[in-house]
């Protein structure tokens, strides 16, 4: 068990005024079997009233609406969590057994999985380790070649990507093997931004594995949200009106 101080800040800047801006943030870490949130505060600028709900996947959703003109949206969270990765969640939603939008395999990915399957057999843990080992050999960790819209199949074709892409490919491989798997967005020591990893179902509980670093998850990982793939875990999503063409996003996270 470990006590973590966490903080996370994002600054969204638009290059012109926007209005009627609806947003949904998934940034407040949930209480789970393996983590207890001792304190957590959220600050938003411009100041706006928000409401909290818990979505279908157990994530905290902070929803808000800014009617008037504004050029930026900043938010930050700060808090303390107690993490114990030896404890596990035991609730399985059946949808995690099936491929989702970002993980639907291409023919190349199916072929790849079939070849691996012939060479290796084992339980869910062995499979996750084995697949991750192979991925760390053939997929290059590289920033800027993929986006948040890149699917597992596309990243596999590129043989490159960031943590999100590693997660999607591993989830796709595990699900093809009949092993339920889910996407996790969170904070980890090894990263200055938000991180992503995978949880797989052992048959009676969830275990975490970090394919981008090719290692099991330990007490240095704080879960912010989980879902079928990135789509369910976006840190911030928004719809706004205005003439803006671009937004700039700066993210900074600290875990200590």
């Amino acid at each position: 068990m470990k006590t973590l101080n966490f903080s996370f800040a994002t600054k969204l800047t638009f290059d012109d005024y926007v209005h009627d801006h609806s947003f949904a943030l998934r940034i407040i870490p949930p209480d789970t079997e393996s983590q207890k949130i001792l304190s957590c505060s959220l600050n938003l600028y411009p100041s706006v009233i928000t409401k909290q709900t818990v979505d279908a996947f157990g994530n905290n959703v902070t929803a808000g609406y800014i009617q008037g003109d504004h050029r930026f949206l900043d938010f930050d969270i700060k808090g303390i969590a107690e993490v114990d990765s030896s404890k596990h969640s035991t609730f399985l939603m059946p949808c995690y057994r099936y491929q989702s939008k970002y993980t639907v395999p291409s023919e190349a990915l199916i072929k790849f999985q079939n070849e691996l399957k012939e060479k290796y057999d084992g339980n869910a843990f062995d499979k996750a380790v084995y697949y991750s080992d192979i991925l760390s050999e053939i997929i290059e960790y590289k920033k800027g070649v993929t986006t948040t819209a890149t699917t597992a199949a596309e990243a596999f074709d590129l043989r490159a990507g960031v943590c999100q892409d590693f997660s999607h490919i591993l989830i796709s491989l595990l699900r093809m093997d009949g092993i339920p798997a889910r996407y996790v967005a969170g904070l980890a020591f090894c990263d200055g931004e938000t991180h992503s990893w995978v949880e797989y179902w052992t048959g009676d509980h969830w275990e975490g594995f970090d394919p981008a670093n090719n290692c099991p998850v330990n007490d240095d990982y704080l879960v912010i949200s989980t879902g079928r793939d990135f789509r369910d875990c976006a840190i911030d999503r928004g719809v706004m009106f205005g003439r803006y063409t671009q937004q700039l996003q700066l993210v900074r996270s600290v875990l200590s």
Binding site: S22, T53, D55, F57, P94, C95
Partner: protein, 445 residues
């Protein structure tokens, strides 16, 4: 009422040209996209009514109430405990690979546990008089306004027909709908959300708004603040909406929860809904229950949830997913009708008898490759109804879309939309395939 007495109703009511002219003037149309081009089409009205005896209607009514109640139980179960899957009645993958299943709706309980407030159930009557269910429509079944306005106009064109015959007045649809909307209301005004005038059913949206006293709205007039849905008023104020009868599909409903590229949705509507601050008619996620692959299991649901024998029969259906059914389908493909579970509106329906030997073999391989994608049904020899074609009475295939409204109790509207095929060789009656419609009379005794 005997069959002979019913057969006296083969006379046209009023003058078809006069009524069709009135319909045209009232703008009773439906829109259709073909090859990317939007067209508004006139939905032709046939003046010979379809008549259903009181006795027939009573049995249909009981069967439909039973079916819709079971489907509502099923939807609650699927988005909560999933007992029907755990008990092995429905294979798990039929639920989770259905496009209509929305994981985002897990754990949400709509007010009064009603998911399908307005159900459009398609039936046909076979030549032996038996009624069969063809399809359940639990998302946004359309079409109720056509028989409504046709009845209004025929009453103007031929008032005698309604004073001489004992016909149940069907003009209560709006009242039933209003009761249903009020029962789902979480506090606030009622609104009908339309994607706009280029939608296939825009006529119906405006008609129903007017007749239920609801505000007809488009998404840019709505916003969610503090997880409450508001209507922006002209004076710059806001009015809370308690129930939203939305006429847009689930995936476009909320860009922050479903398709992010949707321009016709309302951001954070799902958060307001999840918080119990607004009712949505029909509930998002209903598509899992009207999936053509799930249809097969509805009689089993009735037994499972209600402990009753199904009153209305399904058309005999086979799932190639099951080995035994696959064998039957392979041996009898030439006489079956095959439906692609992902398609709607009469698309993706193939009659084995229409295919050449070569095409049949090709199709056989498609089914073997993707067994979950198709269902196969026996072709029901359904009753022909008389229609007027250039002054002559001819017989054509027709179905009935019955409307079932679930509020404090489940009620069947004593009318419905009878659609017929213009083409004498066609069994497909969907309006998007060029058919017409009739008034549907339910007799008082």
């Amino acid at each position: 009422m005997t069959q002979q007495n019913i057969e006296q109703f083969t006379k046209p009511i009023g003058n078809a040209n006069e009524i069709n002219e009135l319909l045209r003037r009232y703008g009773v149309k439906f829109g259709i996209y073909k090859n990317g081009v939007f067209n508004e089409q006139f939905f032709p009205f046939d003046p010979i009514p379809r008549v259903i005896s009181s006795e027939d209607f009573k049995s249909i009514e009981k069967g439909l109430v039973q079916r819709v109640n079971a489907l509502n139980e099923f939807l609650f179960d699927i988005y909560h405990d999933k007992k029907i899957v755990k008990d092995g009645i429905i294979p798990e993958n039929f639920i989770y690979i259905s496009k209509g299943y929305l994981a985002q709706c897990e754990g949400i309980t709509p007010k009064n546990r009603i998911y399908s407030h307005i159900s459009g159930i398609d039936l046909v009557q076979a030549k032996d008089g038996e009624w069969y269910i063809l399809e359940d429509n639990l998302r946004i079944p359309s079409g109720a306004s056509y028989p409504l306005i046709a009845r209004e106009l025929t009453r103007i064109a031929a008032p005698d027909a309604f004073s001489e015959n004992e016909i149940i007045d069907n003009r209560n649809y709006a009242k039933l709908l209003k009761e249903t909307m009020d029962y789902a209301n979480c506090g606030g005004i009622s609104a009908i959300l339309t994607p706009g005038r280029y939608n296939a059913a825009y006529f119906e949206h405006s008609y129903l708004a007017e007749h239920t006293g609801s505000v007809l709205v488009q998404n840019d007039e709505l916003f969610v603040e503090d997880n409450i849905l508001y209507h922006r008023t002209y004076s710059g104020g806001k009015t809370r909406i308690g129930v939203l009868y939305r006429r847009i599909a689930d995936e476009y409903l909320d860009p922050l929860n479903f398709l992010p590229e949707s321009l016709i949705g309302i951001p954070n509507l799902m958060e307001a809904y999840r918080s119990g601050n607004v009712g949505i008619i029909n509930a998002p996620g209903n598509g899992v229950a009207d999936d053509k692959g799930i249809y097969y299991f509805v009689p089993k649901m009735i037994k499972y949830y209600l402990g009753e024998e199904p009153i209305l029969k399904n058309a005999p259906t086979y799932l190639p997913f099951y080995e035994e059914d696959m064998k039957y389908v392979m041996d009898n493909l030439g006489k079956l009708v095959i439906k692609d579970v992902a398609e709607a509106g009469g698309y993706g329906v193939v009659f084995g008898s229409d295919l050449t030997m070569e095409k049949l073999e090709e199709f056989r391989q498609t089914i073997i490759a993707e067994p979950r994608r198709f269902i196969a049904q026996e072709v029901i020899d359904f009753l022909d109804l008389p229609i007027l074609d250039n002054g002559e009475t001819v017989m054509r295939k027709a179905d009935l879309r019955a409307f079932v409204l679930s509020g404090e109790t489940t009620k069947v509207w004593a009318s419905g939309l009878t659609r017929f095929s213009r083409n004498p060789d066609s069994f497909v009656v969907n309006s998007s395939q060029g058919g017409g419609f009739k008034d549907t009379w339910v007799l008082k005794k």
